[in-house]
């Protein structure tokens, strides 16, 4: 290991790992946003709200199952489906009638939804900060590279990220609904013309996208305080990631999340006082080089 450390200091390696675990959350949320943006053409500002609701629901479910260290697993299992249900109702109730509208109109509408969701959360869960316990097996930390402690839960996140990416890859490339949705992203009229019920395809994609937001919320919950307003910061980052990755491209979201997550953690290492600007600087650089985003946009 000493040979490795002489080239890559342990601090650097540990920052990379931390950055990658942040990338996981960013990727999961941003890929859902990108999916909806690509197929349905909805710039869903309320996506962040679903992430927030996901975190709050996981708090409630964990509490329902006793609030102990193992209760989190139930939350992880159930919450995404609760979010899927909410998004299904919203899609069938409102969005399905609005696909033909202008983007600006949809932007305003989803913004309105984010406000409504914000107030609903306040009504249901109140104003107190909530905390979801870290699952028992992943409490604490392990000394990694050169003895620098690394949180076990972040290691868990590092495993979840690739799994979600694989499942998404499978759905998009290997299933019928994935293929249809990719076709619908390119030309929705044509897909309708060959006799496919586009409306239901859209509903499915919307629900999958929102489910990802909810999943992101559950996964982040044990590491943060679950609070009103946690949607705002995230939605901005998610949009930036989607933009630098290429609108509507899931792999763009992965690339964008990697750039964002790693530039953040390494920025902190190199320049702790102003590390905060590095990810945004990275976004600016990417957009200067390639204004359409790194990968092919579906727009």
């Amino acid at each position: 290991m000493d040979i490795v450390y002489s080239v890559l200091p342990p601090q650097f390696l540990s920052q990379v790992l931390v950055g990658l675990s942040r990338t996981t959350i960013l990727f999961i949320v941003a890929s859902g946003l990108s999916l909806i943006l690509g197929v349905l053409r909805i710039p869903n500002v309320a996506h962040g709200s679903l992430y927030m609701i996901g975190a709050f629901v996981s708090y409630s479910i964990a509490k329902l199952f006793g609030g102990g260290p193992s209760s989190y697993w139930w939350a992880l299992l159930i919450t995404p489906f609760v979010i899927a249900l909410i998004s299904f109702v919203v899609e069938r109730g409102v969005f399905q009638f609005l696909y033909e509208r202008e983007h600006l109109m949809l932007l305003l509408l989803t913004f309105a939804f984010s406000l409504v969701f914000g107030d609903l959360v306040k009504l249901i869960w109140g104003v107190e900060y909530k905390s979801v316990p870290v699952p028992g097996a992943f409490q604490g930390f392990v000394p990694l590279f050169g003895g620098i402690p690394f949180p076990l839960y972040n290691l868990f996140l590092l495993c979840v990220g690739p799994v979600v990416a694989l499942i998404l890859w499978f759905i998009v490339n290997k299933t019928k609904i994935g293929k249809i949705s990719r076709a619908a992203a390119v030309d929705r009229e044509m897909v309708g013309a060959v006799g496919i019920n586009v409306s239901w395809v859209f509903a499915t994609v919307f629900v999958i996208g929102c489910l990802l937001a909810g999943l992101g919320g559950v996964l982040v919950a044990p590491t943060v305080s679950v609070t009103l307003g946690m949607d705002h910061t995230l939605i901005i980052e998610a949009f930036l990631i989607v933009i630098i990755g290429g609108l509507g491209n899931i792999w763009g979201a992965l690339l964008g999340a990697l750039i964002f997550g790693l530039s953040q953690s390494l920025g902190i290492l190199l320049w702790p006082k102003f590390g905060i600007v590095i990810p945004y600087l990275a976004v600016v650089v990417v957009l200067l080089i390639k204004p359409t985003g790194l990968l092919k946009s579906t727009w």
């Binding site: 342990p10 601090q11 540990s14 920052q15 931390v18 950055g19 675990s21 942040r22 959350i25 609030g67 914000g118 107030d119 306040k122 104003v127 107190e128 900060y129 909530k130 905390s131 316990p133 870290v134 409490q139 604490g140 930390f141 620098i148 402690p149 690394f150 949180p151 076990l152 839960y153 972040n154 982040v220 044990p222 590491t223 943060v224 305080s225 609070t227 009103l228 307003g229 946690m230 705002h232 910061t233 995230l234 953040q264 953690s265 902190i268 290492l269 702790p272 006082k273 102003f274 590390g275 905060i276």
Partner: protein, 404 residues
């Protein structure tokens, strides 16, 4: 024709309201509250309001003050100074309030304070912590009812300067409160213990969710002590990350309000132990009958323990009521004169409003987080009471700021 007539009718209607409302309000003392009731800040502002209600309801139950009931109305400024200022204006112009109070947002507090000065209406700042409020922007009509960043920093520095740590790391939320609290702590620590050195700084955006990258970096730099200048939800976020990375067992760190209920309650038993913090109110300390009576009453009324902000709201209500009683009339200047130097009993002992700068003289409790079998959340242990005379900036220091 018809539309014009309707419009005229509408105008009459509006005019009636404008003329009728003030006369209706005359037999009451009206207090206008502008505060943030949306977003994470609500966790604190709700306690200000509930504490205030507790005090006012008691006064009204006894027939009010000067034979008038005290009435209050709230406005949600949504943490935005421009909205807050517009609402304060509306409260002054339309609702004709006698007193303004509120806000957790320093920006709003400063804007409303400016309005209060122009309109000559007393303004009680409840939870904004900028030292400018009574410092360089201070004036006759503004009162600060909670500690400000300078006070918190001085109190923390007072205790930290006696500890053996030399190499400090400073980090925090990259906005005014974060920088102000870090600056106040560090400046005063250097003054009291010239041996200390700063080995680095890191600043993150407000609302940062993931502190792991910051903490692993700081642990690598290996300082003796860390001053963490976070506020609001960042308090809990940082503590959770500190627990997950084991920071609290490796490097001691201090956060203003780390030992406060608002930070510790949401984390339950999972909060990190051994974190240093300062607070101006703890419902279980000092363990006096007065404090117990207040926290029991708050618990009975609202079914939860009072946070530090509850005391602020409660005492603001009491000072306003007692101030009017002493003044003998509902008049801004008479109220201000009555309040200057006034001392009232509080759950944590007698508290006074300093005459020179209108700052409430609050003690600070410096403690360390630890488990307590009595509660299912961590509490502040080994509490050191820092009395106001040991850390408050002197009148001369504050008034000098106002001149520049």
């Amino acid at each position: 024709m018809c539309i014009q007539r309707l419009f005229a009718l509408f105008l009459c209607f509006v005019a009636t309201f404008i003329f009728v409302l003030p006369s209706y309000g005359a037999s009451k003392i009206k207090i206008g509250i502008v505060d943030t009731y949306t977003g994470p800040a609500t966790s604190y502002t709700q306690d200000v309001l509930d504490g205030f209600k507790l005090a006012i309801d008691k006064v009204n139950a006894q027939g009010g003050v000067l034979k008038r009931k005290i009435e209050y109305t709230t406005r949600d400024e949504k943490f935005k100074p421009d909205i807050g200022l517009a609402m304060a204006k509306e409260l002054v112009m339309k609702e004709k309030v006698d007193v303004l109070m509120g806000t957790i947002n320093s920006g709003t507090a400063l804007a409303v304070s400016d309005l209060a000065k122009k309109e000559k209406i007393p303004f009680f700042v409840t939870y904004a912590k900028s030292e400018k409020i009574i410092g360089e922007k201070g004036h006759k009509y503004v009162f600060n009812m909670n500690e400000n960043t300078e006070m918190a920093g001085r109190a923390a520095a007072y205790v930290l300067s006696k500890k053996p740590y030399i190499k400090y790391w400073i980090c925090g939320d990259d906005y005014e409160y974060g920088h102000a609290i870090a600056e106040a702590t560090w400046k005063n620590l250097q003054r009291l213990n010239p041996k200390v050195q700063k080995i680095g700084e890191s600043w993150w955006k407000v609302g940062e969710a993931d502190f792991a990258p910051y903490i692993t970096q700081i642990m690598g730099a290996n300082p003796d002590f860390i001053i963490v200048a976070t506020g609001g939800a960042g308090m809990v976020n940082f503590q959770k990350a500190a627990k997950a990375t084991g920071l609290n067992t490796k490097i001691p760190f201090y956060q203003h309000t780390a030992n406060e209920l608002g930070t510790l309650l949401p984390q339950g038993k999972d909060a990190p132990e051994g974190v240093y913090g300062t607070s101006h109110y703890l419902f279980y300390f000092p363990d006096t009958p007065a404090n117990k009576a207040f926290s029991d009453e708050f618990m009975k009324t609202y079914k939860r323990y009072p946070k530090a902000s509850a005391l602020v709201g409660y005492m603001t209500g009491r000072f306003i009521a007692e101030g009017f009683k002493k003044a003998g009339k509902v008049n801004a200047d008479a109220l201000i004169k009555a309040l200057e130097g006034m001392t009232l009993d509080s759950p944590i002992g007698p508290l006074s409003i300093r005459a020179c700068d209108h700052q409430l003289e609050l003690p600070t409790y410096f403690g360390v987080t630890k488990k307590d079998p009595k509660y299912d959340f961590l509490v502040s242990g080994d509490n050191i009471v820092v009395s106001p005379k040991d850390f408050m900036p002197t009148c001369e220091e504050v008034l000098k700021l106002r001149k520049n």
